[in-house]
Amino acid sequence: MKVTVDEDRCCGAGQCVMLAPDVFDQREDDGIVVLLEAEPDAALHGAVREAADVCPAAAITVHEDS
């Protein structure tokens, strides 16, 4: 799995960090998403998919086959 984030779309809602804190963080100064792990471990895939599904800004893209 490969994850990308679109900082311009991100509205800083923090959903992704609440769901997968090992994969996402937020910048201290404005709350915009920071991708910590572009190729997360299999154990985290469920949480990452959920984060992408519920991100209110559709700022997270999951590429499954890589």
Binding site: G12, A13, V17, D53, A57
Partner: protein, 404 residues
Amino acid sequence: MTLSDPGTGELHYPLPAPDPLDPPKEWAELRDRCPVARVTLPSGDHAQLLTRYDDVKQVLSDPRFPRVGGGQGARISDSGGVFDSDMASVLPQSGPAHQQWRRLVMRWFTARRMTALRPRIEAMADSLIDDMVAQGAPADLKAALGFPLPVWVICTMLGVPDSDRDKFSYWSDTLLNLTRYTREEIVAAQTEFLGYMQVHVRAKREQPGDDLLSELTTEPMADGTLLTDAQLVATGQGLLVAGHETTANMISKMVAMLLADRGRWEQLLADPSLVRTAVEEALRFDANPGIGMPRYIAEDVELTSGALPAGTTVMCSMGAANRDAGAFAGAEEMDLTRSPNPHLSFGSGPHSCLGQALARTELQVTLEVLLRRLPGLDLAVPVDELQRVEGLAVGGLRELPVRW
């Protein structure tokens, strides 16, 4: 009722809802047969009501469509209140300027800040429950816990002293309850609130504390400028208006939904790790979230359910969208394990709720503390005796009588 026919009957909005925890019957019918429905607002103006998930999500997340107001789009009601006032018109509402303001405030609402705030919220919830228990059952859980908790939290963030929390509760209530107060009461409350906040902001400039307003007095936005006093006042005001009544009502509605079917409460007692998904499901399942979000359609747009011409005011019913079977399997069932749960209760896209991490934290903490402290919690009246609040912007229950 039957869905009104353009030209003959008028569909008055908000729709009447017969039962406290169930949605208006029209939601399902509208989603199926009339996903873009012409409605008459309390002001007499008209809007197009959207009830399908895809349509609501598309409009809410499109940055071209601002909230109504400032003479643009239909008026919601005649009595003023948040939807019609120039509550915070000194703050930019959309576009790059809105984004700048939002990013500045956003840092106070990150998931990490919320994790840090969590123990304080928990201590507040515990102390409110201590007081409720000391008074003895039955108690009104809304007055004892749901209403004070969020205002305490916001006052803490704004550096407002504990002794002024009750005043804040009242102001916040008048600002959002379009129908419960008279125009004079609303104007008087807004004036008082504004006066208080102006003094408060000036005090924070002179003697900064460890709070959001103090930090904002010195923190430049991306373009290097500082927020003015008026903008700081509006920020504080906006946070209270946005974060108090919404969360207060959601706490009561969530607990009511969980107790209305005892099996749900027992499921959580047996497995408290379900608290997170249970909170999301309560947000989705909320049958009384208020009227929804109005949007001004600034340019022609094509939705799955039809075309909307520029100049239309739409009312996005997130509550109806959240029960769209096209988006949620078993949409009419409350499933405490549902995941993922991409409900629209916080909106979507660039305007979506800035306080959602805080709201989620408050709801999760409330539920955890209640399960731990009062496992025997139960409704003290039959479900159908619960009464809805008439406020438009945020729906809720008048009281939540409980025993334990």
